[in-house]
């Protein structure tokens, strides 16, 4: 591929106190990928997401988005460039309705939030419903988000992230707390988004059947270090990955 990678991370480092959470990780994604990062608890997956989306400041290393250096930019600017994330612990607006939660992201993406005099209720209806529908939340549109079930909250988390019309989407355990059936529905949706909207997606997940069933590329982190990277078959065959991670599961 001659085109620039959508994401390029070079020798990223982050320590919390004495703990090296991410150590010299270099990583690259091409546009259109649907990839997963796996690793035992504490491997640095969430920290890796947090560094790229500027939730934490990096200690050293560079992050490029479509060729532009985004290292050190504040979160709201990174979001505006077209990078969105859904959080591991659902991170929604509990006193607003489901509909209002998603509309907030849509209004922000369309740069309408400095409008002081048009009732928000008249704005962005179609776009908001277009996001609620595929996420299976149309029925819950009028429900106060804080009262949603855990699975619905995770779906709302995803819908809010999509409201930003991202090109690159990070999903931190998008199906945590969901039943088996809900998990499959959500991951099917993720796959559809990847195919139909050419959305580049990187996700973490504990459930190996989900990871190997949906990701076309898998990266393994262990104690902050990248130890394996490749297609599901390659990672399955990788001895290092087996010993530190897959082995523990078996």
């Amino acid at each position: 591929m001659a085109s620039r990678p959508i994401l390029q991370v070079i020798e990223l480092n982050k320590a919390f106190g004495g703990l090296q959470a991410v150590y010299n990780v270099s990583y690259q994604m091409e546009s259109g990928e649907l990839s997963a990062i796996i690793g035992p608890n504490g491997a640095g997956k969430s920290t890796f997401f947090n560094l790229i989306t500027a939730y934490h400041a990096v200690d050293s290393g560079k992050i490029y988005f479509k060729g532009d250096d985004i290292t050190g930019l504040p979160p709201h600017l990174i979001s505006r460039l077209g990078i969105a994330r859904a959080f591991q612990v659902s991170n929604i607006y509990p006193t607003l309705t489901t509909y209002e939660n998603v509309r907030q992201a849509v209004l922000s993406q369309r740069k309408k939030t400095l409008n002081f005099f048009t009732p928000a209720s008249r704005m962005a209806r179609a776009e908001t419903m277009e996001l609620l529908d595929p996420c299976g939340l149309a029925e819950q549109a009028n429900v106060i988000a804080g009262t949603l079930s855990q699975g619905d909250k995770k779906r709302l988390e995803l819908a809010i992230a999509l409201g930003n019309k991202p090109e690159l989407l990070f999903l931190d355990e998008p199906t945590a707390g969901m039943s088996g059936e809900e998990t499959m529905e959500t991951m099917e949706l993720v796959r559809r988004l990847n195919r139909e909207r050419n959305l580049t997606i990187l996700f973490t997940e504990h459930d190996m059947s989900v990871v190997f069933g949906f990701a076309r590329r898998i990266t393994v982190l262990h104690q902050g270090e990248l130890i394996a990277d490749g297609t599901p078959e390659e990672v399955r065959a990788n001895e290092k990955a087996q010993s530190v991670y897959l082995g523990e599961e078996a």
Binding site: P75, H76, S79, T95, Q104, F116, F117, P119, A120, M129
Partner: protein, 321 residues
């Protein structure tokens, strides 16, 4: 269709409140007309405070500073230069907004108790400047003999003038709280991290809201000066910043009209009870304890919970979009 019913009853309540506020002064004595005017001015002050407290989720304990700046700007312009009241009001709003911009720049960097302390510290700064600057502000003597314009010297006239301005200000604030900006405030209140990650520079938005709140507090202060005919530095003191806090808690900070309801209760009781006893603070203390313990969400919040489902802006029919 159910939504229409809710709308009807809310509008019904507003029409009723408006009718009462127009007719009531005609049937009560002049003392109570003064009380009603005070209810309106303090209701405006409390509603401006609630843009920060209820909608942005930050407790300002220095809102009296901007009220005081508004009151002193108007009082000084009238007594020193006999400038017409409308111009004084515009200047008061702008001056309060300017100070809110300067202090707010620092305050919005903090949240929670630190936000409250810093707003209070800046508020006290304003108080001490007014208190100490004898040659300009009159220091602790305050400013006496602030005349209202001829047309408004009658208590009834000033009441209706205040009513019209407060209604206009409430309409503007109502629009702001229902706008995308207003919802962005709720978003910051509910979850500021998430709001950052959908692309919003939250400090900038908080600062804008801080300035708006300061400007409306300044308008309230500006209305107060010619109404009361005299002002003192206490208007900017921290104890005076506590009053809108009480009002918002009494009425309910999560509804737009909560602080106004709080002002009705607080100001009326204050006028009524001080007729019998000088221990008015004990009465208000007991009321606050009662509301915090038994009516969390305030009078209006509790009333709305009992009578109507939570209002939303969800479109009723999908095909309208």
């Amino acid at each position: 269709m159910i939504n229409l019913g809710i709308l009807r009853s809310s509008v019904g309540w507003l029409v009723l409140a408006l009718a009462i506020s127009i007719v009531l002064p005609l049937v009560v004595g002049v003392f109570w007309v003064h009380v009603l005017t005070e209810i309106l001015i303090m209701g405006l002050f409390a509603t401006s405070f609630n843009l920060l407290f209820g909608y942005m989720g930050q407790l300002s304990f220095g809102q009296a500073a901007y009220y005081g700046v508004g009151a002193y700007t108007t009082a000084l312009m009238i007594t020193k230069a006999s400038i017409p009241l409308p111009l004084c009001m515009v200047a008061s709003v702008l001056m309060a907004g300017l100070w809110a911009l300067i202090f707010g720049y620092f305050c919005v960097r903090l949240t929670g108790i630190y936000f409250a302390i810093l707003t209070m510290a800046f508020g006290q700064l304003v108080f001490y400047i007014i208190f100490q600057w004898y040659s300009f502000t009159g220091g602790d003597n305050g400013i006496q003999g602030i005349p209202a314009p001829l047309l408004l010297q009658d208590a009834y006239a000033y009441y209706y003038f205040t009513l019209a301005l407060v209604i206009a200000a409430l309409i503007v604030m109502r629009f702001i709280t229902n706008s995308p900006f207003g919802y962005t405030m709720r978003a910051i209140r509910d979850n500021s991290d998430r709001t950052r990650f959908i692309g919003i520079n939250i400090r900038r938005y908080m600062l804008i809201n801080f300035v708006i709140a300061g400007m409306f507090a300044g308008l309230a202060g500006s209305l107060w000066a010619p109404f009361n005919r005299s002002i003192a530095p206490d208007l900017a003191n921290w104890a005076h910043s506590g009053i809108p806090v009480f009002m918002a808690v009494i009425g309910g900070p999560l509804g737009f009209f909560g602080p106004l309801v709080g002002s009705v209760v607080y100001t009326f009781l204050s006028a009524f009870v001080t007729g019998f006893t000088e221990y008015w603070p004990i009465v208000i203390g007991i009321i606050i304890i009662f509301i915090v313990l038994f009516l969390p969400g305030g009078i209006l919040g509790t009333f709305q919970q009992k009578t109507m489902p939570v209002g939303t802006n969800y479109p009723e029919k999908k095909e309208t979009s």
